[in-house]
Symmetry: C2
Subunit: 577 residues, 2 copies
């Protein structure tokens, strides 16, 4: 029986950590070899981590990555290793090295470079041209990179028509809601369209704003899913591919035979990796890992936990500090942080003012108790009074307004940063996407901190995630009252979010339509928020770009997050109404 064993090493790399990434790659090569794999693959740009951004403009960085690849090659003997790295000649390429017996047998250059959303690959890389087709003993396969497989007529198609029995597609594909399912549907179609086995390998882990979800996949030539790697965790999936089945299915596929006629010879390069190679597995195993799909809320929550853990750890922090207000946002953030880092690594700080309610105090304390995290209490009244006294000569007798509200928020920001500076704790901010959108947050106040873990989570989803987490625990982590009491910034007497904003159930769909979908004004007007209300919301969004520009990064979970995903001018007189 014609069969080959492939291993997809879904590893968590760190950008710039060439040495660490290289060590990890080498150790997985050894493990794959021990497990009898003929081929082991690593993610897109595994050597450098993804995305390296402007590190790619440093010649020394490129050279260090080439040296690392050579070091990896020395550890490859009777296995084929496919490793993502940055290739260079007179230019640089997003590349995959095909390594065997200590030698780099070929280098594939990514052909389709994404340059939209969070991607800037045309800023750095030259495009590849002719895809390679690799012969290893009696088998033939193709390798390509990420975006390459999203094009129905791209290199995957060419490689399959030219005879590839299977394709290995290496990725660094960032997570957003809905993407895992969309990706599976597309890959299944690619496999069945071209009667080819598709092995899709994704990287895993957090890198600044991005989280990679892993969930590597293998589809057979009929588009059936054979194996799925773990979500948001390192994993190596091993699959024995049945190549006889590919041949048989092709014999029965008249469509494919006809189409292959149109392939030009110049569209592909044939590369002999080894004519002598003997496949290791004569008796293939057909029991594969098939990690389960996460439900939507579990998936989002896990993305946030992963993004938080990796940001904190990869940046060398041991502990985090969170301002706990007794509200839903800070409660969810503390819960996520505790799941990511453990109770000992999470510190809470409650900073009451004259406007802080008894309920807030009780809820903050109960949350800390439930999560088993330490909480400090630092009242801000004395400091606030000293500001008011000092400012009296310049504020004169003007009545209190947003200036006094913001002073309080900024005192809290200063106190959090003081502890951060004193003890080396990373401050996590607690603003959600709804607030970030309309600027309902104080710059240098509640926006002060290093990482904003729920900044891409709309308020209505904040509630859902909190509820889901409580349900999962089977008891209350986030106190029940936090889930139903009315949201308030508590910066002046009897303040409610709805004094300034439409209810979140009305607001959130407007924000999605305007920010994520670029809908026109007429399309956005909705029941519960008519012309004047929609104008006000859009105006708030447009006017707070300056705040977002100074916000800490956070984890992308929607199709369009703030940050590198949405690049807006601050100076901008466009009004869509």
């Amino acid at each position: 029986m014609k069969s080959i064993r492939i291993a997809l090493a879904q590893i968590n790399t760190t950008v710039g950590d060439i040495e660490g990434n290289t060590g990890k790659i080498i150790s997985y090569i050894k493990e794959a070899q021990d497990k009898g794999a003929d081929i082991v693959a690593f993610p897109e740009l595994a050597v450098t981590g993804y995305p390296p951004e402007d590190l790619l403009l440093k010649p020394q960085f490129i050279n260090d990555n080439i040296k690392a690849l050579k070091r990896i090659a020395r550890h490859v003997d009777d296995i084929v290793s496919i490793v993502g790295f940055v290739d260079k000649d007179s230019d640089i390429y997003n590349a995959a090295a095909i390594i065997h017996q200590g030698e780099v047998k070929d280098v594939y250059h990514k052909i389709f470079l994404p340059n939209y959303g969070v991607f800037d690959e045309m800023r750095y890389f030259q495009e590849g041209d002719i895809p390679g087709l690799y012969r290893l003993g009696d088998i033939v396969f193709g390798v390509n990179i990420c975006e390459d497989i999203w094009y129905p007529d791209g290199p995957s198609r060419v490689q399959a028509l030219a005879g590839a029995e299977f394709l290995i597609n290496i990725n660094a594909s960032p997570y957003h809601i809905g993407k895992p399912l969309f990706r599976e549907r597309m890959l299944s179609t690619r496999a069945s369209d071209s009667t080819v086995i598709v092995a899709y390998l994704n990287t895993v882990g957090g890198q600044d704003e991005l989280v990679f979800d892993g969930q590597s996949l293998v589809f057979n030539e009929r588009g059936d899913l054979l194996s799925r790697g773990r979500a948001f965790e390192e994993d190596m999936i091993i699959v024995d591919l049945n190549l006889d089945a590919v041949f048989m299915t092709r014999l029965h596929d008249p469509r494919r035979r006809r189409e292959a006629l149109y392939l030009e010879e110049s569209a592909i390069r044939f590369v002999e990796i080894s004519s002598e190679y003997h496949r290791k597995v004569s008796k293939p195993s057909f029991k594969y890992t098939l990690s389960h799909h996460l439900d939507e809320l579990e998936e989002i929550y896990t993305a946030l936990v992963t993004g938080t853990r990796d940001y904190v750890r990869k940046n060398g922090f041991k502990k985090v500090l969170i301002g706990l207000s007794g509200g839903i946002d800070s409660s969810l953030v503390a819960t996520i942080a505790t799941d990511a880092l453990g109770s000992d690594s999470v510190k809470g700080m409650f900073m009451p003012s004259a406007y802080t309610s008894k309920e807030s105090y009780e809820d903050a304390l109960e949350l800390a108790k439930n999560l088993n995290i330490e909480i400090f209490e630092i009242p801000i009244n004395d400091i606030f009074e000293s500001y008011l006294k000092t400012l009296k000569p310049v504020f004169k007798d003007l009545s209190p307004d947003v200036a006094e509200e913001n002073i309080q928020a900024r005192i809290r920001g200063n106190l959090l940063m003081a502890l951060s500076n004193k003890y080396g704790w990373l401050v996590l901010t607690t603003g959600n996407k709804s607030e970030m959108s309309v600027g309902y947050a104080t710059l240098y106040g509640d926006m002060a901190g290093g990482f904003a873990i729920i900044k891409d989570v709309p308020k209505t989803m904040v509630y859902k995630l909190a509820q889901w987490r409580n349900n999962k625990e089977g008891r209350l982590l986030i106190p029940e009252r936090v889930l139903w009491k009315e949201p308030s910034a508590e910066l002046k007497p009897d303040q409610k979010d709805t004094d300034t904003l439409p209810p979140y159930e009305v607001l959130d769909p407007i924000l999605k339509a305007y920010i994520e979908e670029d809908r026109s004004f007429d399309e956005i007007i909705t029941h519960g928020c008519e012309i004047e209300c929609t104008q006000r919301v859009i105006n708030m969004i447009d006017k707070s770009e300056y705040k977002r520009r100074q916000a800490p990064p956070g984890i992308k979970i929607t199709e369009r997050a703030f940050g590198r995903d949405r690049r807006f001018p601050i100076t901008n007189k466009y009004r869509s109404y």
Copy 2:
């Protein structure tokens, strides 16, 4: 004599202000017509402003810009108007409309889309393919856009070989030091290489991080400069082109005749704008505007003034507020702001602590007097004491460190923002590029504010600019002592910048080598900063990326500024030593 009069309208547009930009274009068309011009040109994306960034992803925005173009067309009668706008079919293009007699006669699509440095054009636009060549009565000319003329074999070359007597190249070319001269050299070579008149039109004014310097140019077919528009100001230059001279020079140019043989017919489209057109000017004038080149320091200073004025005005602010420390940075910022906005629009705030020297006090006050700006004095001691008292239980008996220093800086940030919120003044921050590079600044402290006007100015250049400005005034604006006293943050007793940093004369070249030139570690080590010192500096740069990510935008004046120009990961374990 065969001659034609062209007008280059070097206008200051605002991003998103489609209505305002359109009004301005229409009024300049009228003025050009009144002045007898046959052709009037406007900058790249004049209708939308440049760069519109992700506004380009909004279909409504594209449609509004098309409507505006049609409105402009209705105002064009016996003149040819060339207007930069966003064209659309099934995709969008960075385009130039060629309008005559109320009709859009042709649309040129930019062929080379810059996608490096501050540019992201491949994120948005489809590339154009075949350039057009335009016939107007008995003359033939080409139009192209910005980057198109930087390619020696690009559309400019094709248009010239195919018969264009002159080229109109419309731009939005951001300023950086050295660019005006580099650009002039290149354009002169393009003209003489292809024996063609080159009319280069640049936009002018500030847009967030970018400043466009204008300085539109016309070169004759021998590469001699005929006219130069004003630097950093709106202008319309009018030139009568001598087309007989072009013909004669070509007759004497054997190179050109030979090269034209190789031009393929399919490389160009011929478009008839009007076969009936009669050139207006029978007796050409040959006296042209030739605004002088600015000296380097004047040029930089003027860029900063322009960028400041436009950021403040275009964002609807009337006044600005600056924390004055008595140091060189805040002194220079206040001087630039006063030049940009006038004395009445600039407010200073002096916020002394126990560590503030008498000299600082005197220098801040003297500066304010010299600039004739209002200055407030708000001491921070009482507030600082209340923080220390409040924090005592959590700080315990740990000895004072950077935490206490930063609290002071953040109190100042809070006070500045309090006045900003109370009175609607924009806070200008005062950090320079040297500080931003190594993170010698307090996040939410001295980094708090809306616009950081000297964030791309290295400290050594801060001194030069201050000296230059004093010299220009012929008296001291910035007090003399500020120019020679040793820099200090005054956040603890006897603090000096050199406690933490190498002297700025040593530091600045290292920063340039690492940040702007991407030099390797070995290349950076320099006299006065050996291995250990260079490691420390590079480490400080790498480690402060998180601060820069939350910094306000500022004006780009070097070849690589922080911000959209340099995109670095925060999570980054790469060490180049």
